[in-house]
């Protein structure tokens, strides 16, 4: 479904993404991990065309991303970002309705159908009770769910998540990922998630992409990618890798430096 071919990108002089090729199949839950500066966020931005690669191409269902209009991209893909500015806060229902924007074109006002879709996605993400509240009255976790609802209102086939669990409490993290997981499994939504939390990625992702210095260090199932050797090589610190006793997926434990 998503096909990256020899993609390279730089902001100024240094290449941030180097000659990266990768495929995502429909319905997959992909995790992108790697240290800060390895290009995780940049890769996501390339995927939704906030920025364009200087070399290589990206294809969605066979169509070059560069040839698609902004609305076309927005109808295929939705992004749940880390932060949203709360300068002049909108109500939850208004925020979710913004997700219908790619379908409105030049129209000024949303239709009854748009309102129905908004209510539906708010029900899925369990934010319907907050519909009338201002966004800044909600907790961090609730706000994230509203952003997911907005993304869902875009009726996307692909959802991109950028550090979705940063600044969330653990129970919110689990709630969030359970929701994403169910969307992936039940609705066949393709998910691409960039995260610094490898254990979470290990639990939920079908495949993981480990980035180092803008290149793919390794790609494959969590068991294939999350190994002591790989982690120590990429991150440069000592770790212990075993299996999560409940799920059996790889689990990383950080080790203190020698002599302490």
């Amino acid at each position: 479904m998503m096909d990256l071919r020899s993609v390279s990108f730089r902001y100024r002089e240094d290449w941030v993404i180097r000659d990266l090729s990768f495929r995502v199949e429909r319905g997959e839950f992909i995790g992108i991990v790697g240290p800060n500066g390895s290009g995780k966020s940049t890769l996501l931005k390339l995927l939704y065309r906030l920025i364009a690669p200087q070399r290589g191409k990206i294809f969605i269902d066979g169509i070059d991303l560069g040839a698609m209009s902004r609305s076309e991209i927005a109808r295929k893909m939705a992004v749940v970002a880390q932060e949203t500015q709360l300068l002049f806060p909108f109500r939850v229902i208004e925020v979710v309705l913004m997700g219908r924007s790619p379908y409105l074109g030049h129209l000024m006002f949303e239709s009854q159908k748009d309102l129905e879709i908004a209510k539906k996605v708010m029900a899925w993400t369990e934010v319907l009770p907050f519909a009338d509240r201002l966004l800044d009255e909600l907790s961090g976790g609730e706000r994230k769910r509203v952003l997911i609802a907005r993304a869902l209102a875009q009726e996307p086939e692909i959802m991109l998540l950028d550090e979705p669990t940063a600044s969330l409490d653990i129970h919110h993290q689990i709630d969030f990922l359970d929701l994403i997981h169910s969307l992936n499994r039940e609705r066949r939504l393709t998910i691409v998630m960039a995260s610094h939390d490898m254990n979470l990625a290990s639990e939920f992702c079908d495949r993981i992409l480990l980035l180092q210095g803008g290149r793919i260090h390794s790609v494959g199932s969590p068991q294939e990618v999350i190994t002591k050797e790989s982690i120590e090589e990429v991150y440069g610190c000592k770790v212990w890798v075993d299996e999560n006793p409940v799920s059996g997926m790889p689990r990383i434990t950080l080790l203190k430096k020698e002599g302490r």
């Binding site: 931005k45 913004m98 519909a131």
Partner: protein, 362 residues
């Protein structure tokens, strides 16, 4: 939730309490009709008031007659007072008040800064330099040339600010703001220089223009600026929904399908056009472009589909009312209208701040 009463010389009933939760065409039309009615009322009152006494009933009779196309039936003096002095002034105040409020709202969204006002990018300083040059050349504040040269100054400033405010071909709000502030400062220094060398008579005219002078209203000048204000407003309104989207952040807007760079170019230009037109005839009237959008947001929410027309109509009423107070309170002495906008606008805004939740970053 009750809406607070609008302060000012008039006492209005509270608007209806049942407010639907999202912005629909119906709601926009309803609010526009209400605020439009308010504006009409304020206009009529303002034409009735003045430093010379004209019987109110006769005035209304005369106005109604003129409306339907008949001769007014009043004396030459009365006609001159009502239709050559008061009415053009009220009209100008309405247009300028609307223009400044709408462009203020747009700049606040584009720059994502609650302290933004129409003058923040230095457009007004450019207009001022233009107007002062015209005045020093002897063209006077009343001629048609002065607003045109002022507009020229404003346009050149806009171009300069956009030229310096771009980075990698994109408009960055912070860079733009910086460019605007710096260019504005440079132009202010130029203005001070002009003031220091200007002879007595021109100096007075210049000072009054800088403080905002609605007494130079005439139909010709209004006719010149109205098309630009209307054009700018229409252009902004067509982008009202995308403007909502960029409030969350430009990256959010992009992923929602908005061509953000094009949106910014169009909206910055339209808002600057409105500002330039509003400022070119009667100078820099402060405060309106800052507090009216905030007041409307506190009352009606930040959705631009409602915010833009509501700000325009409320801003028009506000400036017309302020100007009427400015010219009648201490007649024949006329206060600068900026004094009244600050004196009434300030406390009203503070009241709104306390009665309602406000912008998070303040």
């Amino acid at each position: 939730m009750t809406k607070p009463k609008i302060m000012g010389p008039l006492n209005l009933p509270d608007p209806p309490k049942a407010i639907p939760r999202i912005v629909t065409l119906g709601r926009v039309l309803l609010v526009s009709a209400l605020l439009g009615g308010l504006l009409l009322l304020v206009i009529v009152f303002s034409v009735l008031l003045g430093s010379a006494r004209v019987d109110p009933r006769r005035s209304i009779e005369m106005m109604l007659r003129m409306l339907v196309g008949f001769p007014s039936g009043g004396t030459e003096t009365e006609e001159a007072i009502l239709f050559s002095i008061r009415f053009p002034r009220v009209l100008l105040a309405g247009v300028v008040g609307a223009g400044l409020s709408v462009s203020g709202a747009a700049f606040q969204a584009l720059l994502r800064n609650p302290l933004a006002d129409p003058y923040i990018l230095g457009v007004s300083s450019g207009a001022a330099v233009g107007a002062i040059s015209a005045i020093l050349m002897g063209l006077g504040a009343l001629s048609l040339a002065t607003p045109l040269i002022a507009s020229l100054g404003a346009l050149l400033t806009i171009l300069a600010v956009f030229y310096f405010g771009r980075q990698d071909g994109r408009i960055h709000p912070h860079t733009l703001l910086l460019a605007g502030v710096i260019i504005g400062s440079f132009l202010s220094a130029l203005i001070m220089f002009f003031i220091s060398i200007s002879p007595k008579e021109e100096l007075r005219t210049i000072i009054f223009w800088l403080m905002g002078d609605l007494s130079i209203a005439n139909y010709r000048a209004i006719g010149v600026i109205v098309p630009y204000v209307v054009l700018g407003f229409v252009s902004l309104y067509l982008h009202a929904r995308p403007l909502n989207l960029i409030l969350s952040g430009e990256e959010h807007a992009v992923q929602l399908g908005v061509d953000v760079e094009r949106l910014k170019r169009t909206c910055y230009f339209s808002a600057s056009l409105i500002t330039a037109a509003s400022v070119s005839v009667c100078g820099l009237i402060g405060f309106v472009g800052l507090i009216i959008p905030h007041s409307v947001r506190l009352l009606l929410g930040p959705d631009h589909r409602l915010l833009l027309p509501a700000s325009g109509l409320l801003g028009a009423s506000f400036l017309v009312a302020s100007d009427t107070v400015a010219r009648t309170l201490l007649a024949p002495v006329e206060l600068p209208v900026g004094v009244i906008t600050a004196a009434f606008g300030g406390p009203f805004f503070i009241y709104l701040l306390k009665a309602r939740k406000v912008v998070r970053t303040i």
